[in-house]
């Protein structure tokens, strides 16, 4: 595997982390301004879906190749 593929993969990882950080800040301000439990749990659910999909590779469960 070449360096550009590796750099691209690291960049993708950083973008996901940045998205999660932004969502956490939004979550904090939603708690202060709106005080909506449902909205806060929805943001948490959205963050969890991102982690499960991007970091935990849930889609590999049904990939036919069975590769890493």
């Amino acid at each position: 595997m070449n360096n550009s593929a590796r750099t691209k993969a690291y960049g993708r990882s950083a973008m996901i982390a940045l998205t999660l950080a932004v969502l956490t800040i939004i979550e904090f301000y939603v708690a202060i301004s709106l005080d909506s439990a449902i909205f806060l749990m929805l943001i948490a659910l959205f963050k969890a879906v991102i982690v499960v999909q991007a970091y935990m590779h849930v889609s590999r469960l049904w990939s036919p190749e069975g590769e890493h």
């Binding site: 979550e27 982690v51 935990m56 590999r60 890493h68």
Partner: protein
């Protein structure tokens, strides 16, 4: 079928089974953490104890950052970058320890000389739920750090390759799972409801 092809197919099948087993374990764990979340909403309703918001945000950021470093470590071994892989594991373990210390000092108040906590496990319903939720989560953080240490030690000895690294993948997925649990626990403990204690 050559010996190499047979070995690869055997590994692929084993990998599928391992993944399924790990995710079934996560589902069973979800009942435990889900039960704790339900307990929080049943007992607290739309109230919450007074917990330090800055500390909550900092420990959450630390855990999210540790997920990033763990993903970097996993991506590194996938691409044969052993140095980043080992470094990523160390950073993740250190961030996990920082999270743990943050919880022990500022949520549990285990070191009154540094920070005097006002909640106790047997004090009232707020203390009981906070200690149950953070305690169970902290137990998983500790086991995650031990898991990382084992993987780091094996990796240091050249135990994983870009083709075969189930140990790294399972360790990373486990760590991210611990993060996912905190993603739900953070608003439940710190953000939802009005301060009642």
């Amino acid at each position: 079928m050559t010996t190499v092809t047979a070995a690869l197919e055997g590994y692929t099948q084993q990998l599928r089974n391992n993944r399924m087993g790990l995710w079934l374990f996560f589902i069973s764990e979800a009942f435990l953490f889900g039960g704790l979340l339900v307990t929080r909403f049943y007992l607290w309703g739309n109230t919450r104890p007074e917990l330090d918001q800055t500390i909550g945000l900092i420990v959450t950021a630390v855990l999210l950052l540790s997920s990033f470093s763990m993903n970097m470590a996993e991506t590194a071994i996938e691409h044969g970058d052993r140095r980043t892989f080992l470094g990523g594991l160390v950073v993740t373990a250190v961030l996990g320890l920082v999270f743990l210390i943050g919880v022990m000092v500022f949520e549990w108040g285990l070191f009154p000389a540094i920070y005097e906590g006002h909640l106790t496990p047997g004090g009232d319903v707020y203390g009981a739920v906070v200690f149950a939720m953070t305690g169970m989560h902290a137990l998983h953080v500790i086991s995650g750090i031990i898991f990382i240490a084992i993987v780091w030690n094996l990796g240091r000895k050249g135990g994983f390759s870009s083709e075969r690294h189930w140990g790294v993948e399972s360790c990373a997925i486990y760590w991210h799972y611990v993060d996912v649990v905190w993603i739900f626990f953070y608003p439940a403990l710190y953000l939802i409801g009005t301060v009642a204690h």
